[in-house]
Amino acid sequence: MNLNEEVELLKGVPIFSKVEQARLKLLAFTSERVNFGVGQEVCRQGDPGDTMYVILGGTADVLIDTPSGQISVAEMKRNSFFGEIAILCDVPRTATIKAKEPLATLKITKDMFYRLVAEFPEMAIEIMRELAHRLEDTNQKLRAATKAG
């Protein structure tokens, strides 16, 4: 998979959906590609997170710790991504991600992301716009829920 394909995948990430293609390409170029073997953990629930991953190929299990042990709650495939909130604010990982098949990811670190945002403020505006949309969306849902309740 080369750079241009990676950029296409990045475009699928909502917070990046409005960002200019050239910027995403730079983000992809400066980010590292990391492959995980079957059974290797990408991240662990509860650990501090500061990177986001975009899955370029393979599948991964999403596992949640419960009192009765780890359970798989979902599966992620190509085009999926996780940790996008972690690069905006420090939150612990909410789940463990484990490679189910050989997994190829693009690893975007907080540092790299901030550096680009600092360089191109319009990126921040696009991201803000996207977040605002999401907030509005959530608010609407909340209102609908309270009405219904």
Partner: protein
């Protein structure tokens, strides 16, 4: 005073004689400066004492040289008068030459004893012979000059060497506390620069005044013979001159002293700036520092300018006074001539004689000036080198055999240590301490426990009280006994800028154990070298000899030292770090063929393991027939390690041979095309980024400065292919892909066809490599050890694949496993030991420096090790583990540990605990006894 002598009181007489002898010895010792105390105050006595025979030889040479000098002056006269003008040939055709006779007419009138009548020569022969005599005299005169100057130079340099050595020797004997007062840069300036002018003066110290004095005396005697009154006038005027000029020069000398001190302090300040440069930056104090330096330079300027002024004032008076004598001769002599008391010829004679006087006088005065100058310099220096409490040289004698044991019991009685005579850090402390016991000391801050540790290492000297070891004064035990048997580690460790190994073995180098092996020719040179050392009062120790005392480390020789080193590195948990350094180190197969062979074997074993499924895809091995996606294009082309600069890094792209290979294989155009593509991508990605963004540095193939030009080029090109690019730009484009790594940069530029072409160029490069470039590259060859590559690269023989999670860690573990299997781990550590730790050990992290410091103390298997809060900088668990290792090792050898605990609960596993407070021991006992007693011990333990 009782009357000495007489049989009535023989006891008193003997006593008196012995007193006289004692006084004489004391005087002698003082004169020799051999005791701990003083150096010779007078530079002259110092020079005379150490170079007497040489000075006398030079003096004799100077006298002898005068004969030939005189000859070279008189011969021309004979050549002109007799040889050319023929004055001597007026009466006869020939004259005798080389007549050898003794003229006794002064005693017996007319009595001349003739030994040899000489040869008869005519005028032409005479001219030829005398011309050659002149030439001979000139040559002999020159040879004398050369010999004298050489002798002087050698003597001066020898004395300089002696003085420098003596000063350095004294630095080694300074009391430890003195180093808190002196600045190291000042010491260095003194030994290096300030004594330098002394060397030049020493050669002339005695010869010059004798020689010049002789000349001046001759001239004065001649004047006296002409007219005693004029002679007296000249003498009086000279006396005035010689008494006034030095007085005028006194302020010059004082200023000279100030100049020397201020220059020394400047050196100290500059060193401080270098030492504290981080603090200066952190606190933004650069301009405050500038102010200080500017102030100092201003002061130095003032001193130096004053010096100039004073110097020229002195010069002015000197000139006036030296002209006063002819003035007097004109006036007085003229008066005598006019009044007829003296004839004109005599006045002219006096004037002529006086002509020869000023230049030796002037030089004498100059010499005197120089003498005072160097005397002051000398005093200034030696004043700094005789602090009170210097260690006597005997304590630093070199042992002639293995050092004796330390003794069984240390007894401290009423020991007081004060800080500058005020605060008592140790207050009449008494303690007996068997050297084989394992004791911990606990106490709060200010309890004096760390001072106690310093005292036991003789780092701090008590103001009063005694410390005895088996009844002997602890401070009179020679340093080599302490060095070998008592180890000390404090909180700071200084490492010398040598290898880890040299630092680790530093404490084993008490004496040369085995002489260095020299071949016959070198041996002769070395022996002459040592002889010269002894002439200058330097010891003839050989740093090339083997100084490592293997026995002390528990080894029998160099062969089995490595396990001992590994053992102590393990005790301080430094073995892993040194192992990593070893992996990054290189081994020269020519020097260690055995090790290279084994590493090669390890490579084979590793690659067998890599075939396993578990490690699949983590390493891309170097393969002649495959393009390696994890190497750059340049690395793929070279396919080897560059030796030297020829093919190293960016030089590869500019190398004419590489260019020729690329052209031949047609790869140049391909690379240009690739370069164009990279340029397009870079312009797309990095345009708009501010030029100082670190991303440029890290990721861009084109620097921020160049990017606009490249963008312009691409705009002009307007999408046309590489053919449209001007020739000059093509070269630049061609170098861009050299750093391109497909697996990392992922621009998809290298397809199967491109791989094939690069492989073709790789082969062409290797096959056509001219003989003179053979040594510039070591090609990757699975069956050959690569001396230029690190151990890790050698065993790996490939590259870690980009983007494999934890690949580095997993392969690192695998390599460690392989080395363990083959029993090579220690050898790798051995390679790591060759790592240079840099100035002050700064190339190692602080914790590793400290661990190395502890290991250095442990490797000599000391009878007693004093650990003075030395583990404080490690994390708690590491502290405890290192303590347990040291304790286990000590109890195995039944040796002692004196552990000054930085945390009270470290003391738990010790047999004995000493509790300190306010500089005194307040309790002592086993942990259970102390716990039962409660008090401060329980308090301290609870606080931990």
């Amino acid at each position: 005073m009782p009357q000495a002598g007489g049989a009535a009181n023989p006891g008193a007489a003997t006593r008196q004689i012995s007193n006289v002898i004692k006084a004489l010895i004391a005087y002698r010792v003082r004169r020799d400066g051999g005791d701990a105390g003083f150096m010779e105050r007078s530079l002259f006595s110092y020079i005379w004492r150490h170079s007497r025979p040489e000075q006398i030889v030079i003096l004799l040479l100077v006298v002898l040289a005068q004969v030939f000098y005189f000859m070279s002056l008189t011969v021309p006269k004979s050549v002109i008068n007799n040889g050319i003008q023929g004055n001597a040939f007026k009466d006869s055709k020939t004259i005798p030459f080389l007549v050898w006779e003794l003229d006794l007419s002064a005693i017996f009138p007319g009595r001349v004893i003739r030994f040899f009548d000489g040869f008869q020569v005519d005028q032409l022969q005479y001219l030829v012979v005398m011309s050659f005599v002149f030439l001979g005299a000139v040559i002999v005169n020159g040879l004398f000059k050369k010999t004298i100057n050489t002798q002087k130079g050698r003597m001066g340099e020898r004395m300089l060497r002696r003085l420098r050595y003596e000063l350095y020797d004294r630095i080694l004997r300074f009391p430890p506390a003195h180093f808190r007062k002196v600045k190291q840069a000042e010491l260095a300036t003194m030994v290096k620069d300030e004594v330098e002018p002394l060397g030049g003066f020493i050669g002339d110290a005695f010869v010059q005044p004798m020689f010049l004095g002789g000349q001046a005396l001759t001239a004065i005697i001649f004047i006296m013979m002409q007219n005693w009154l004029l002679g007296i006038i000249v003498i009086v005027l000279l006396a005035v001159q010689m008494s006034i000029i030095p007085r005028l020069r006194k302020p010059v000398l004082v200023l000279g002293r100030q100049r020397q001190i201020s220059a020394r302090q400047l050196a100290g300040r500059i060193a401080e700036t270098a030492d504290g440069v981080h603090e200066i930056h952190i606190h933004g104090a650069a301009n405050y520092e500038r102010a200080d330096i500017s102030e100092r330079l201003g002061r130095i300027f003032k001193i130096r300018f004053d010096l100039y002024q004073k110097k020229f004032v002195a010069k002015f008076w000197n000139n006036i006074l030296s002209q006063a004598t002819p003035f007097a001769i004109y006036l007085v002599g003229g008066y005598f001539a006019i009044t007829g008391q003296m004839d004109v010829g005599a006045v002219v004679g006096v004037l002529l004689a006086y002509k020869d006087l000023p230049s030796p006088i002037k030089e004498l005065i100059d010499w005197d000036q120089q003498r005072q100058d160097v005397q002051i310099k000398y005093e200034q220096v030696i004043d700094q080198f005789q602090p009170e409490g210097m260690m006597p040289p005997e304590l630093q004698a070199i042992p002639d055999g293995p050092p004796p044991p330390l003794g069984k019991e240390l007894a401290l009685v009423g020991v007081v240590v004060t800080e500058d005579g005020r605060v008592k850090q140790l207050d009449t402390l008494s303690l007996t301490l068997p050297t084989s016991s394992r004791v911990a000391v606990i106490g709060g801050s200010g309890s004096g426990k760390e001072v106690l540790g310093q005292v036991l290492a003789r780092q701090t000297l008590p103001a009063s009280g005694t410390i005895r070891i088996d009844g002997k004064d602890f401070f009179q035990v020679p340093e080599y006994v302490i060095g070998a048997r008592l180890a000390y580690v404090g909180q700071d460790t200084y490492l010398f800028p040598l290898t880890v190994r040299d630092n680790l073995l530093f404490g084993l180098k008490l004496r040369p154990v085995a002489p260095a092996a020299y071949d016959e020719a070198t041996k002769v040179i070395r022996e002459a070298f040592w002889k010269e050392s002894e002439r200058a009062g330097n010891p003839a120790f050989d740093p090339n000899a083997d100084w490592v005392d293997y026995e002390l480390a528990g080894a029998t020789g160099p062969a089995d030292l490595l396990p001992c080193m590994v053992r102590v590195l393990k005790q301080v948990e430094l073995d892993e770090d040194i192992y990593s350094l070893g992996l990054r180190g290189t081994v020269d197969a020519a020097v260690r063929p055995d090790l290279a062979e084994k590493i090669l074997k390890a490579r084979h074993t590793l690659h067998e393991h890599l075939q396993d499924g578990t490690y699949a895809g983590l390493v891309e091995p170097f393969n002649d027939d495959h393009y390696n996606k994890n190497l750059s294009v340049a690395e793929n082309l070279l396919f080897g390690t560059a030796l030297g600069k020829q093919f190293d890094g960016d030089n590869l792209a500019a190398d004419p041979y590489v260019m020729s290979v690329l052209q031949k294989t047609g790869l140049d155009v391909e690379l240009q095309r690739m370069g164009l593509s990279i340029a397009e991508t870079m312009v797309e990605l990095f345009s708009g980024l501010s030029p100082d963004n670190p991303l440029f540095e890290q990721y861009s193939f084109i620097s921020a400065d160049e990017l606009p030009n490249v963008r312009l080029l691409l705009q002009r090109l307007g999408g046309k292919g590489i053919e449209a690019v001007p020739e000059a730009d093509r070269i630049r484009l061609m170098t861009l892909p050299f750093r391109y790594i497909e697996a990392r940069h992922r621009l998809g530029l290298i397809d199967a066809a491109m791989e094939e072409r690069i492989l073709g160029a790789r082969r062409a490069f290797a096959e056509g490599l001219p003989a003179n470039l053979r040594d510039a590259v070591e090609f990757y060859d699975f069956e050959r050890y690569n001396s230029a590559a690190t151990l890790q690269d050698n065993i790996l023989f490939g590259r870690l694949v980009y983007g494999q999670a934890q690949a580095g860690e997993r392969i690192g573990n695998l390599i460690a496993q392989v080395f363990d299997e083959l029993g090579l781990r220690d050898s790798v550590i051995g390679v790591g030991l060759e790592y240079n730790v840099g100035v002050g050990g700064k190339r190692l992290p602080a914790s590793q420096r400290q661990k190395l410091g502890i290991a250095r103390a442990l490797i000599k298997r000391p009878q007693l090790v004093v650990v003075n809060e030395a583990v404080a900088m490690f994390d708690g668990r590491t502290q405890d583990r290192i303590r347990d290792n040291i304790l286990a090792d000590a109890s195995e050898r039944a040796s002692g540990v004196f552990w000054i605990a930085n945390r009270p609960n470290q003391a738990e596993p010790f047999d004995q605990i000493v509790v300190m407070q306010g500089g005194r021991v307040v309790a002592r006992g086993s942990p259970s006894e102390l716990a039962a007693r409660g008090g401060l011990y329980t308090e301290l333990m609870a606080s931990a």
